[in-house]
């Protein structure tokens, strides 16, 4: 009898937790996409994490209005990005960045958060070779291989 009660109680709690986790995931899941993946099938209003490299020569910063704009590229496709506010440390042209935000019907990516990616290891960046896009995308995705 006691064990039965305990099992029922535990089952109820487990179900409640599963429900909370399920709704939490459906509400806050964010898809990681590359510029080519986004350009292939952009869905306006959907939340994305867009990873790529800030294309050199595209960074514009308007101090009075706090408008930041740049183009993010993965070597194959590019996405125009706009943001309100200062970019974080370690953000810059020719470097990797992950942008959280959404695609707008006007045809640009509206950023809500910019995560600059420097070498996530504490090791020296390889001074000679500019890391290729392929390697960069791996780092941004956090893949191990």
């Amino acid at each position: 009898m006691k064990t039965r009660k305990l099992a029922i109680g535990g089952g109820v709690i487990a179900l409640a937790l599963a429900y909370m986790i399920y709704t939490g995931v459906t509400q806050s899941a964010v898809y990681f996409v590359t510029p080519s993946e986004l350009q292939a099938a952009p869905v306006a209003g959907k939340a994305y994490r867009l990873g790529g490299m800030v294309q050199p020569g595209t960074l514009r910063w308007e101090p009075r209005s706090l408008d930041l704009s740049f183009t993010l590229s993965d070597g194959k496709a590019t996405v125009p990005v706009r943001h309100k506010g200062t970019a974080p440390d370690l953000f810059g042209e020719g470097r990797g960045a992950v942008i959280e935000g959404s695609w707008t019907p006007e045809g640009y990516f509206k950023a809500t958060l910019i995560l600059a990616k420097h070498s996530e290891e504490y090791e020296a960046p390889h001074d000679t070779a500019e890391p290729g896009y392929k390697e960069l995308m791996k780092t941004l995705r956090g893949a191990s291989r």
Partner: protein, 648 residues
Amino acid sequence: MIPEVGSGALIVALALAVYGSAAAAAGARTGRGALVESAQHAALGVFGLVSACLLLLTYAFLTFDFSVRYVATNTNLGTPFYYRITAVWGALEGSIVLWAWMLSLYTLLIVLRHRHNARELYPWVLTVMLAVSAFFLLIMTVPAPVFERLSPIPADGRGLNPLLQDSGMITHPIALYLGFTGLTVPFAFAMAALITGRVGDFWIATTRRWTIIAWYFLSLGLLIGGWWSYHVLGWGGYWAWDPVENAAFMPWLTATALLHSVMIQERRRMMRLWNLALVILTFSLTLFGTFLTRSGVIASVHAFTQGTIGIFFLCFLALVVLTALILLAWRWDALAAEGELDSVISRESAFLLNNVLLIAATFTVFFGTVFPLVSEAVRGVKVSVGAPFFNQVNVPLFLSLIFLMGVGPLIAWRRASLDNLKRNFLWPVLIGLVAAAVLSLLGVGSALAVAAIALTAFVAATIAVDVVRATRARVRLGENPVRAAGGLLLRHNRRYGGFIVHLGILVITLGITGSHAWSVQTETTLQRGEHTDLGGYRVRFDGLNASEESNHMKVTGTFSVTNGRNLSTVLLPAKKYYPQEQSPIAYVDYRLGLLEDVYLVLGDFARDGSEATVKLQINRLVSWIWIGGAILTLGAALSIMPERRRPA
């Protein structure tokens, strides 16, 4: 020369650890004390050798020995003296050395403290401790050789990550690792109990204090990490649900569960299996956390480098879990509870629910942390869940836990009568309800904020009820009230230390609630002499100036801050330019206050100093987190001390 000596010492230490582990096991099986004694000597030898390695590495850093790769990548000639010392454990290889050293220190402390009083368990405890040490020594020898040579020898090193050049980095890793490694001790005792079949209550009574010590350091490490994030990273937050933070938070949650469920086993001889499982889970989570942060499988702001090290940790983790499960299955029959749950309205059931909720929170954090990995493996798309997920699921769990924090310590064991409930909870419930009503009428914040504060009031009232009642009882015996209250703390320090920890959690809860509910921020570009207003403060930009520091350049903005009443101060946020970094690092300036912090981050600026972009935050009640943290660690320290109860 030094690298060779160091590498050699590590190999000898590895051999000694393997030998000691085997000798202790053989001694336990054959009953030959000489073998166990020999294992003790091996433990001492491991401690000595790893200490020597740590010293050698420190010496290499102090003398700029760039022939050692690790030194060259983590320091340069400009690194100040004390950051050369913290650089020793600033990156992967060195952090493992520190880890192994602490493990060998704990092993030595076990030898000193339990050689005569841990009965049959002791040799097996030694076996497990030395086996775990051997694993870390293996890591230092094969996948992460700390003394690896670099050739050709560079003229200067690369320098320490500037974000780590902060005083928090001296204490944060030390505290955190003392917590992580400390959790090996209860695990070793649990394994020893399973191996010997002495799965009764002795092992758990012996390890309770070790668990609190580890918990104390883990809490301290998490708190210092939060403080570091708040005052270095410049986003005005203290917790981001980053995988690395989660890695440390999960064992903290399960260790917290353990500290509570131990009491049920001691008192009611229940939950033996549960407690063993919790110890094993907690230790496995420390390994899992190390795996997460050091294997590079998960992208994180402060993850370590990648390499083959991940596979070593994964294999060891699998070995640990498998061994533990086999042992549990083997001793299954001996693990039946003697006592049983009498009623749902009882202290046992409150503690049980506390444990279930803590495990639920652990699972949530685990799920959110590995979710990207799983979704990529299963569906081929990378989906992550961020802070909203963790907050949404965990906040209700944590609020329920706070409610239980009020109920658990006062409700009766076995079965609480209506009278018992009325006597303990009538006033606290009324106080909580009044607080909720008043806050709702004032309309001070969201429903969650109101609930959090009302629950805090409820729990604080239960603590007050208990302290007042116990003090009164002593006053009736003729003690004066101050002495009586002090006596409670000292003689029943385990119970009242626990209450102080709870009080600390309450203060932290208020800090987190306040900072989420009432903080405000703005970002703007100011001309020199121009000002901006936020939350009753006026911030004026007074100019920029550049300066050269020992190992970096610095551009400092001068901002005068006034609130029109009693405050007039100058804040100096800056940007630091380290030669080894490609871009500047923000240096936050702030004015901490009991109710609110003024927090200023310098953004972009015109080179002539005519204008600057600044991020201004008024962060409310954040200081309460640090104050609560201090209270919590004080309480934990108090409950570690031996009880000074006079014999009746």
